[in-house]
Symmetry: C2
Subunit: 153 residues, 2 copies
DNA sequence: CAGTATATTCGGGAAATGCCGAATATGTCA
DNA sequence: TGACATATTCGGCATTTCCCGAATATACTG
């Protein structure tokens, strides 16, 4: 894809990625951009991606920063230029660690909720759920750690 | 909470749950309903929850079925009545297994994407990412299994 | 079968979201 | 500092999403 716009197959790939991510709350533009960056071997400028994806440059700008926020893309500043390039991050854990944050918050809330629950039944239910989320969260953490270790081996 | 409407603390809990879930694509009504059901010791009727949560009955109906779809709530039909009651499901894995589905689909897509990637760099990147998602997915699966076993111990 | 209780569907309207293009800010070079 | 290149912000518009209440469907009772 490095030269002209995306080929047919690449286009389809991009849209597939978007179709997958959009229902999970990722804005269309950011989702497409992510698929696009996955196909791109080197950092891309805002103008380039806006052109290739046929979106406005402003849209590309905010989409890119959104991806960056979730650590799905990395920004490459350039020496002696205001120009900014983005490439997909090799740290693709972003989405998952984000989910972990949800698990944490939920567990916290449930623990707190167990406090205000009138009946024993609801209380123990909430306690168990909190435990569950924390357990899953921990094992996820462990898996990520293993993966990181494996990679540098 | 079993008798009158939610107390102040309960209301706050409900809204907290909603605040947490809504950004993840869960509609407001369903999110609030989930928080509400967590506090409720026995199955609730549509009318009751609509009244307590001050939402229309139709909204309550679709929200409840949405929760049911994600296995976050269980429907209790009642003998000799069209009436339907809902309670929070003891199978709170729903949200996570849903996330697993995303991981699967993403891994699948990436494997396929590696095929159309022109350059070796992007191809190996996609292959690695696919591997990553599958690894995480497997360890999540294992954790869920352990939890289920532990519970019945 | 008529009548009642209940759930579900559906159309409309309101609010939120996302995207665009113009305007603005910010950094770089000479 | 001025001129330029580039990124970012912002107001408005279009689309989508969501919720409500009325209308409809469905099941149960006598």
């Amino acid at each position: 894809m490095s030269n002209k716009g995306p080929t047919g197959a690449e286009r389809r790939f991009i849209e597939d990625v978007a179709r997958l991510l959009v229902p999970w709350g990722v804005p269309q533009a950011a989702a497409r951009l992510y698929g696009y960056l996955l196909l791109f071997p080197e950092p891309v400028s805002l103008d380039r991606m806006a052109a290739d994806l046929e979106m406005s440059k402003s849209t590309a700008s905010v989409a890119a920063r959104l991806l960056e926020k979730y650590t799905l893309a990395r920004r490459h500043g350039q020496r002696g230029s205001k120009r900014v390039l983005y490439e997909v991050s090799d740290n693709y854990e972003g989405m998952l660690t984000e989910q972990n944050r949800l698990l944490d918050a939920l567990a916290e809330l449930l623990k707190q909720g167990a406090g205000i629950a009138a009946r024993g039944k609801t209380r123990s239910r909430m306690e168990e759920m909190a435990e569950f989320h924390m357990t899953i969260r921990r094992s996820m953490e462990a898996a990520l750690k293993r993966w990181r270790a494996r990679k540098t081996r």
